[in-house]
Amino acid sequence: MNAQHFSTPPRWLPLRLLLGGVVAALLLLLTQRRSLSTLFAWDVPAPGLWARCGSSLIVLVIALLLAMSIGLAAGLLARRIGSRMEMITALLGRALACLPIAAVAWGFIGGWIGHLGWPVETLLHAQLPEAAGTWQTTLARTLWEFLAPALVLALPLCGEVIECVITDATATADLDFSLRARGVPQSSRLWVHHLRQLLPLLRVRMQSLCLIAPVYLLIVEDVLRFMGWGGWLAQSIRAGDVSGIAFGFITGGAMMALLCVCLFVLRGRLKSSSSFIPALAWHPWFLWALGVMTLTNMSVLCWLILWLAVLVAGSAAWHQAWNSIEDQLPIDAARVLGASECMIWLKQIAPVQFRILAAWVCTVFAQTLLWIAVACAIQPRLLEELVDPLAQWCRPLANVSMQDAAQTLADPSALLHAGSSIALVALCLNQVSRIVQPRPT
């Protein structure tokens, strides 16, 4: 799973994302001793970039809407069927979320073009001379142009939402019994009472996905050759274009902020977090890490940056898990019974902290694996520093040249093997993390 574990966002999240993007861009330019005028001369990075940002925003909105509606429908239907189906669906959701996005994107092209023989509009423009002028054809082309990346992007996001809908159900009040006693039909129990309780939690989850989705979009647009912000930023990262990357940070932050603002239409709010750690964690660290990694040739430093991003982004999960459990520990009772502080720490705090730490380590390893796959897909030079079997798994995901792409499409077995291996390891680590993680009663 790549989205953050449940932690409430800080106050003014959209503004923080916007300002965070600007600050990250400025720091990037300053470390490279570039003048700030490079940043403010907005026509410099690429002509037509605003249109590209608009296109990407449309793709992101479609993908998030698709993921939310499919995830909600699947999660709630699983709940309706029963607890076993819920468990299976949650596991499938987690598995889907663990698929490397590059494998999904290349798998989509392989299946669509290689197997079905249908065109992907951004790759192979369909020739329809007799109907080329009609508005229906234009609409269909435009729709398809946006739908293809949105569908690919929606797949892992959908897995995340399914898992979240089912997991968050345990945090809502179980009113089923009293609603049955009132004669409320099952559909109302599910789609009115349960869904309304889920919406505030879902909004937080969707906001968390808004930080991940633009990073995935880099890969999707790059693979599908979509003329959007993601494709352009992926090229900038690959070329080491600092001003382009800085501009990508700003526009990326703005897009995330806009998406978070749009999510305010979902009813119900949770209290914002006021502590420092969640405020720090709720930033697009992975996007920034991918950008900053290009600036150094030392691969050790690259991996350290990525590792730090994973640690900072995951710190809120630890903080939230500990906060929710700490109140339930019988620490005061132990003090009343005369236990020393050392004994309390050894008997009460340390075992719980150890389990939280073990769960967190597993999650961090799973996320690191998935982000290594993302980083290698954008920057294939990083592959050289990886050891087997990690290098073997990540190599088929990095198709930069036409030859690589043609080879992958001709024989997708290596891609599928790589994607499924990474997904399986990440899924196993996530499952171990779930088992080890202590839960508040």
Binding site: A173, L175, R180, A181, R182, G183, V192, R196, L199
Partner: protein, 288 residues
Amino acid sequence: MSDASIKKDAPLLRIRDLQIEFGRHDGESVKAVKSISFTLKQGESIALVGESGSGKSATALALARLLPEPPASISAKEMSLNGHHILEMNERELRAIRGKEIAYIFQEPSTSLNPVLTIRTQIGEALALHRPDVAKADRDDEIVKWLDKVGIVDSRKRLRAYPHELSGGMQQRVMIAMALCTQPKLLIADEPTTALDVTIQKQIMDLLAELRRDLDMSIILITHNLGIIRSVVDRVAVMFRGEIVETGPVDEILRNPKHPYTKALLACVPRMGAKQPRLQAIDYATLA
């Protein structure tokens, strides 16, 4: 005899030889209720009294088939409510009588009210489901009428309140209003005051007694506290280990208990002013 008086005398609820079992993973089942029988006329009220695990709540929930089947298995020679044979009804038919003919009030109001919906939406839903005679435009007035009836002050203002904005006592009053607005024939109050403090307990019990008189409604009151039932019910059935061990008019049972378990239960009730050096614990060895 007139039709009305025949209808009045006909039992609203008739239970004969009700048995409830719960299946277990090891194959053996546990008998929670062992062959109990009682009848209840329209407007009559009964208290099912007993300690935790005596089968009183299982009995009450079985009346609307609310227990999950399986693991529960309910059987009876007769179980009818207002002419409906409960055990022969399907889920759709049961849904139609739940809330409409038989309404429940549970112990903890905060776990029965949806925290993200307003009082208006939740009571409005009950009206929409079971009172089609109330037009949508009149629904607010009807809700206010019932909120007034259960003693909620400034009721129109409370329509837009969420459950967390109300105290525990107020929430329980809302639950009572929600249960009664559909004008059920039978109200089952399953330990309605256990989660409330003592002064609120008294208010809620007085409210139930008053509403019962005003609405000519039958009540089954489930409680383990014999001290609070006098003002609300006519009869008492004392349950012990899944059986009714003693039944009779409330005054008689309270004044002259016959079964040792009833005597033991009464001895557990603290009395103001009475010289009792220590509350007695039930000696199960003498009851077995």
